[in-house]
């Protein structure tokens, strides 16, 4: 890659002070470090990955609204976790976490169990028991 070819396609990096370092060749043929704001193919691949997360979250969100899953399922998906990963974080068995994903299993959970989940997601217990009303607010980005 020549230094004038170092891409500056903004996308993932929204902060003006943030740049990633690329290795590029200067006109004399020497390698130098060059700052890049991003690259279009990479942005495409990355937004594709986020689209996948978004689809999952939306799907689970509508199931929570329909009363088929507990709000915990939404927070799990929003944090890109699956049952196995969440079980590791709260140190419960997967089966136990799986039960908590059902509305019936979640409804009467005592505060100490709820607070374990809340700590993992950096939420208050109140927030853990709810899902946003608006589908626009579902994702961190």
């Amino acid at each position: 890659m020549r230094i004038d070819d170092v891409p500056q396609d903004k996308g993932m990096i929204d902060n003006d002070n943030l740049r990633e370092i690329c290795y590029a060749v200067n006109p004399e043929g020497r390698y130098v470090l060059a700052a890049s704001a991003g690259w279009e193919p990479k942005n495409i691949a990355n937004s594709q990955a986020w689209e996948l997360v978004r689809e999952t979250v939306l799907d689970i969100w509508s199931k929570v609204r329909a009363g088929k899953l507990s709000p915990l399922a939404y927070h799990m998906a929003r944090n890109q976790m699956n049952v196995g990963l969440l079980a590791k974080y709260v140190r419960y068995s997967r089966l136990r976490v799986w039960c908590h994903l059902k509305p019936a299993g979640f409804r009467r959970l005592p505060p100490d169990i709820l607070s374990r989940y809340a700590t993992v997601f950096d939420l208050e217990i109140d927030a853990l028991q709810q899902v946003p009303d608006n589908a626009q607010e579902l994702m961190p980005i």
Partner: protein, 333 residues
């Protein structure tokens, strides 16, 4: 309050950046590319049996921690590495070292680091950083992929050090305990080069090294028929991300390795390395082309020339050229 006089340098890849910065702190002034080369970081493997976010893993570098281990070992330094079960003990141990003004490297997950832009927050447990100070309840962190030293709360750092999932870091931290008075860079470079060539050319596994690139080409060609178009597109996207995701310096470390060859040439007194570096750059440009074609396919903007067969062809060409480079390198050593 304890702050070490650690010099932060932004680099392109976390592990080689941490290695170079830590060694430089102890007077071994090497660049990131040099650390990457001596640590024999370059590799390739396509492992469809390991899934990341439900998609197959492709790696352009060696195993986690390998670069740091090899670069310190080859240069005769000693590295003390600790793993923890108890998060609180892990933080106390970190504080104790910072109190002695020792900068400490940590392996963390990327998901919980608050200074990461949201777009980069994925569960990825192979991030490395150097904790270089503590002020009140906040840690000063030299994260090699960021331009300046960043701040992070104790709570968030603890959570990141104990991120869960595949390759969980378990609070791993390391610091350098001994540095020899003189280091033999030349021998280190030779050793690193040999390891890279050997691994790329002679790994007996079909999915690793040069053969791994061919294996990926064969698999990739069949993705649309085997998986159906939507899934095939996801696979291509994943491939691009693994290759170009922040931290590779472009083209899946090929440019970084070319920079290393260029730096090594005068040290070894081997001008032919310069030519090999140039060829490696060309191969890197070819890898970038692969990403461009792949992105067009992902985006549905593919022209007639942008097909899976084109991508497979590019991969085979990369493999052919890289094999030539490694063979010549072996001869020149």
């Amino acid at each position: 309050m304890s702050v070490t006089d650690f010099q932060h340098r932004q680099s392109s890849h976390c592990e080689s950046g941490v290695s170079a910065n830590l060694l430089s702190h102890y007077g071994i002034h090497i660049t990131e590319a040099m650390a990457f080369g001596i640590g024999a970081g370059l590799f390739f493997a396509y492992m469809p049996f390991i899934k990341v976010n439900k998609l197959p893993l492709t790696t352009y570098r060696c195993e986690v921690g390998g670069i740091l281990k090899r670069v310190t070992q080859t240069l005769g330094c000693r590295l003390h590495r600790q793993e923890f079960k108890d998060p609180l003990k892990a933080m106390t141990a970190l504080d104790a070292l910072l109190g002695q003004k020792i900068p400490v490297g940590c392996r963390t997950g990327a998901f919980w680091l608050p200074y990461f832009p949201p777009a980069f927050r994925f569960h990825f447990n192979m991030h490395n950083l150097v904790v270089c100070g503590k002020e009140g309840d906040e840690y000063l962190i030299s994260d090699p992929v960021f331009p300046n030293v960043v701040r992070c709360s104790a709570e968030a750092l603890m959570k990141s050090r104990f991120a869960q999932g595949p390759l969980a870091p378990n609070g791993v931290m390391y610091h350098i305990t001994y540095v020899p008075a003189e280091v033999d860079l030349e021998a280190g470079i030779k050793k690193g080069l040999k390891t890279v060539c050997r691994r790329m050319l002679n790994t007996p596994l079909p999915f690793a090294g040069i053969r791994g690139i061919g294996f990926l080409a064969n698999r990739l060609e069949k993705w649309p028929t085997r998986l159906g178009n939507p899934t095939a597109i996801l696979h291509v996207g994943q491939l691009i991300r693994m290759q170009e995701e922040i931290g590779t310096g472009g083209a899946g470390f090929r440019f970084m390795f070319a920079a290393f060859l260029q730096e090594a040439a005068p040290l070894l007194g081997a001008p032919d390395l310069l030519e090999l570096s140039r060829q490696m750059t060309e191969t890197g440009d070819l890898w970038r082309k692969l990403a461009v074609v792949g992105a067009r396919i992902c985006k549905g903007r593919a022209s007639e020339a942008d097909t899976y067969a084109t991508m497979a062809g590019l991969l085979r060409e990369c493999a052919r050229r890289e094999a030539l480079i490694y063979r010549k390198l072996m001869e020149s050593l």
